[in-house]
Amino acid sequence: MGNQINTNREIYDHSDPEKLKFKATTGISEELVRKISKDKKEPEWMLHKRLEALKLFNEIPMPNFGPSLADLNLNEISYFIKPDAKKNATSWDDVPAEIKETYEKLGIPKAEREALAGVGAQYESEVIYHKLKKQWEEKGVIFLDCDQGLQQYPELFKKYFMTTCINPGLHKFAALHGAFWSGGTFIYVPKGVKVDLPLQAYFRMNARKGGQFEHTLIIADEGSEIHYIEGCSAPVYSENSLHAGGVEIHVLKNARVRYSSIENWSKNVYNLNTKRAVVYENGVMEWVNGNTGCLTGDSKIFTNSKGLINMQYIKKGDVIFVWDELTNRLKTSKVKNKIFSGSKKVYKIIVGGRSIEASSNHPFLTLIREKNSPHHKKGFFRFIWKPLEELKIGDLIGIVKKIPHKGKPHILPKISIGEEVNSKNQYSTFKMNISYLYNKKINYPQKTNEDFMWLMGLIIGDGHIDLNTNKINIATHEREDYRDKLIILLKRLFDYTVTEKKERYIIINSKTLCQLFTKIGFSGNADTKKIPEWVFTLPESQILSFLAGYIDSDGHISSHSVYLTSINKKLLEDVKLLGIQVGLWGSNVFTHGKARKSMILGKEVNLKDSWRILFDGKNVKFLPLKCMAKKDKLGKIKTTRGYFSSRGLNFRSKVNEEIGFSRINKIEERGIKPTFDIEVEGYHNFVANGLIVHNSRITMLYPSSVLLETGAKTDYVGIAYANKGQYQDTGCKAYHMAKNTSSHIISKSICMNGGTTAYRGLVKIKNGCTGSKSSVRCDGLMLDNKSKATTFPSMEVDENDVEVSHEAAVGKIGEEQLFYLMSRGLPEREATKMIVSGFIEPLIKELPLEYAVELNRLIELEIENSVV
């Protein structure tokens, strides 16, 4: 078996865990592909298949594909390659209490709980596994890890592995999967064999946890039957954030396959992007599905200690800002998990000068006005989470006006520059004292303060650090009234006396300061400067000083706002976010000037594109500007924007100094990008790009069946449950490609406490597929007024001689129903449970008993935990 990385190996061979260590290799490269293949001792043809897929991955064009993909993959793949052995070393104590509790409530034995959580060695399971394995083997059923499957059954792999079902050319991520797949499950059921017990990957939990690109290949040969269960219905805890796997199922003539995945249903850390079955003559494919949106990786998350972080770099344990619905204030909470949610079509939403890219199902905090009832003549406002796809221009969206961030001064690094340098001439080497040159004794404070940050603001605005000449150039015209203040400040801060003064600028000659400023992130040219991340972690007063410095040097003040112009768009975007943190509300960064040739001071110069941002808000007046001329103008700015009213609507009661609402200016499509979601302890939302957004703990998963030959049939049974803050997007796709094919789809979704569910499905019947049948039933049940259930079934039928039916019923749990049941002595909770279990009863009937029981228990748990 050699040096393979999947943890299944540990089950058989715990003697030498060292061997499992796998040197981290990063990057999507041919080298990595070759390495994976080599380490797995794969046959040559598989290596070629991987390389082919890699080539496709590089070739398949993806319009508008953001540059962030490269970053993501580099990152995530190295994550995957790191040895899994460490995961087993983690102790039961590391498993979140919530998960443990759920296991307990479900009555799962401790050994299995640990297995589910990926903790501990798997001796008990091993025994069970081997026993069952023997039974299967007697019937000729092959149930192996995919890597082993390839070793032992190369012919089956050649024929079925990523060929007719999921071809690497299907989409870019299928290609990525094809290049880097590892681990997973391989099942082959021989002709005519019926496996009565469901097969579960359950017993190979460790192995399952092995791969982010795990592959499941199921081949049901002619006339065979099999039920495969992906995991079990208990939540599976994993630290992995990227799961881009593939499930492919070949249902041959007269065979029957049922594929159940319920564990997603409870808490999703799993994310199989592609699930696809091909069904041959009279074959039957049944999907039983339970599912559990998302922001792009470059969304900026405000954290408490680390400042602003790109979403893709957020880690478990980071403390981030969340919105507390009860108090309508921002609070902090810990990140429990970050989930890669796959590459999705994303949309950019622009509101109140903020913007973010998110998938269509990602929910945002909106403020809606309830229309008049006899009691409320004026109407009233209510918070509601709405998925992006339901938002329209003009909707009121929750924005953050100020982050209640308690910053700390940044500790400045020590710069040591010898006073002597080694020097040599043609006679000898000697030490030369250079302290008289650029090293006039500089004392700088140990940590940042307001003066220091104002200076940094000047430097980001109009300063230049030249490491070759050890000069710092700060543009201040001799007529500028703050030049003297700067000189005094430099004396105060560094005990430095400015000697070089020019008409337009002053010069600081100091190697120490040059190095210091560079080291803390303030080097670069006008178009490469950026705000170092630590600036976001400073106390409010220092951030305001920094912004004041920037504005003193490079800002302008009109009668309505403060504005900054730059050729560096990203810099302005950062300034905007920094502003949000301290209550200065920036506009969008908008195009100010196009690249052109221009005459400046008699010289022809090439001007680059330039950008501009405006700031307003009450706090603008408190910017500690040092330029008196600007400060005067600042006092005269007429600004009233407070995000508490709009177009005659006043919603002051829902607004405070931290939270405001603004109308959506624009929503635009931005192509396909990798998206992420984060889970936070105790909350289901977080602050990203200055907007309050929801996490969604959802994967949009649409298993699809391709009915390839006459008589092929597919059933889909799906259930979705969305509790507070969740957004469940489920559905299924059926492609009828032959005569007399049929699809039967039933989906039930339940939402409560503000949760949202959506059914999204597709039935496609090709022209000529006469005698085909399709029935779709998708029902939604809302347990309260705050929740929302929707259905988006879609049918493309190009043949007349077919039977197609579609039923959708979306309703709220009736007050009447509750009243009725309660009048017979049932407490509200019991009554609700009864209505819910009645609602899903038709679906439960289609499930195997043990799953029905477990599913019911899970639903009861959800309701018990949430009905107050």
Binding site: S373, P374, H375, G814, E815, E816, Q817, F819, Y820, L821, M822, S823, R824, G825, L826, P827, E828, E830, A831, M834, I835, S837, G838, F839, I840, E841, P842
Partner: protein
Amino acid sequence: MIEIKNLHVDFKGKEILKGINMKLEKGKVHALMGPNGSGKSTLAHVLMGDQKFNVDSGEILLNGKNITKLSVDERSKLGIFLSFQNPVEIEGVKISSFFRQAYNSLHEKKLSFLEFQELLEKKADELKIQREFLSRYLNRGFSGGEKKKSEILQLLVLNPKVAILDEVDSGTDVDALKEVANAINKIIKSTGMTLLIITHYNRILKYLKPDKVFVMINGKVIREEDGIDLANEIDKKGYEWLKK
């Protein structure tokens, strides 16, 4: 047993009950009559605790205890039962399993599936209800008569202290009505149940002899009389004459 004091109730701001005063005595049969829309069903729902209606003032006492603020299930546990005029359909919930859960939440002695099944079938026989009926979904696709029978079956099984029967005679044919009435009479005799029968004509009152008749018009009890005479008079003359 039950005392209603100056009860004012509105529905979405519209006053429906305008100061009701009534006393229901233990073990007696009371009839509440009145034309459509007079507020009878509202009173029945308010007695049961339907949150849809706002109690603006007044109180409901059960054996001297103020129950006006109690929730529906709490009232049920105190022994109040409402037979609905038009019970809602609940899909996926079987009569037998619902009845059993209701029974077990109301009674200290919990019955197992088999024990309950025995009780249920015995009561079903009294109402000439077929066994298959018991495994149907609650009120789903029931005819008017079946709905009423199901309600009365619950009454028999749950055995409450006070039963409010809202229009139990509407939608039932003569035979079914007789069966229902017989079963109710039997249970009154054996348990001393207090009854409030809501109806707008006296069909059922021929079988269930009321001890007292109340007449409600436009949200007020305008008349109350012991015995059945008032009911018979209404049967002949309608309600108009009472309005004067």
